[in-house]
């Protein structure tokens, strides 16, 4: 009879401190995961399309302004340029081949001037704020 009374008391004693401890561990893990797994909110892309025939039109003297002279973007916005033409186009040091899609997240703030004949005057300036 004595043994039967003592055993449940010991088990209850163990669980008394174990349950809050384990719940605290789970809560802490959830907080860590929530913070570490947090991702930046989706940022809309600045998207431009180079239509088919752009290069040929330029050859005829029609200077299409596919890109504006100045593009103002928030930091972290992705610049997307889709080249649907059959010719490559330069964007500063980059070359966007026929049928290619160029992507670049504008990660740094500042003003960046690039030669690009897709823009009026042959230059495009990115202002990233």
């Amino acid at each position: 009879m004595t043994v039967a009374v003592v055993a449940p008391a010991r088990r209850a004693g163990v669980l008394w401190w174990a349950v809050p401890l384990l719940l605290a561990i789970v809560a802490a893990a959830a907080i860590v995961v929530a913070v570490a797994g947090r991702s930046e909110p989706p940022v809309p892309a600045a998207r431009y399309v180079v239509p088919a025939g752009t290069g040929a039109a330029m050859d005829r003297g029609n200077h299409l302004a596919v890109l504006p002279a100045t593009i103002v973007m928030r930091q972290g916005v992705e610049l997307v340029i889709v080249n649907q033409d059959d010719r490559p186009f330069d964007l500063g040091p980059f070359v966007i081949g026929p049928g290619q899609t160029f992507r670049r997240v504008m990660a740094d703030k500042g003003t960046f001037r690039n030669t690009c004949r897709l823009a009026p005057g042959g230059n495009v300036t990115f202002v990233v704020f």
Binding site: I25, V26, A29, A36, F94, R103
Partner: protein, 206 residues
């Protein structure tokens, strides 16, 4: 003594499972590449160069699960090339042991002055011998073909006064083990950004 309560054991197992699942579900904060990408990606696996004084054939493909950083430049470059090499070196340092999966190849655009020995010595200031490939072409046409494959250009001119002027695309291209250019960094890309992108790409290549 020594025996764990069965209820407690189940509780511990449950908590451990929850922690493992939560940890597995938490990804890195930023898996987006910060350099520029092109889709479809440029393939450079068929391009060939030669390495070293003996002209060992070299293909622009990374080792399995690794990456290859390719840069076109020249050793007497006063600014762009040494800065880029130093940034790349710094980026690889930031990666620690992971950097072992990354090789660096520099193709000289000034082969007349950059002999194999000159190029090798130059690169040894930045990278260990086993990690770097010093590439040069005897045939200008072959060099131009490889440059075109990377959408790069270069021009070496000599002025009336005898000064050599070199212009070249200052771009670092990262090639994967399939021979695809997976990201490009223009001059001025920080070591931090390089390290970030390399880390992302190595994670994808695992």
């Amino acid at each position: 003594m020594g025996q764990t309560d069965p209820v407690l054991r189940r509780l511990v197992t449950l908590v451990a499972g929850i922690v493992i699942v939560l940890t597995a579900c938490s990804g890195p904060e930023d898996n987006n590449l910060r350099g520029a990408t092109l889709e479809p990606a440029l393939m450079v696996s068929t391009l060939q160069a030669s390495e070293g004084a003996d002209g060992t054939p070299f293909r622009f493909v990374a080792d399995q699960g690794g990456l290859l950083a390719v840069y076109f430049g020249y050793t007497q470059c006063p600014d762009l090339c040494p800065t880029t090499m130093a940034d790349l070196k710094s980026a690889l340092r930031r990666l620690g042991a992971k950097a072992d999966r990354i090789d660096v190849a520099m193709v000289t655009v000034d082969p007349a002055r950059d002999t194999a020995a000159v190029l090798r010595t130059y690169l040894s200031h930045f990278f260990p011998a086993g990690q770097v490939h010093a590439l040069r072409f005897e045939d200008p046409k072959a060099q131009k073909a490889v440059e075109a494959g990377f959408l790069a250009t270069s021009k070496v001119t000599t002025t009336a006064g005898g000064a050599v002027e070199v212009s070249h695309t200052a771009m670092t291209s990262i090639v994967d083990d399939q021979g695809r250019i997976v990201v490009q960094w223009p001059f001025g890309t920080s070591a931090e950004t390089m390290a970030h992108d390399l880390n992302v790409l190595l994670g994808r290549a695992r």
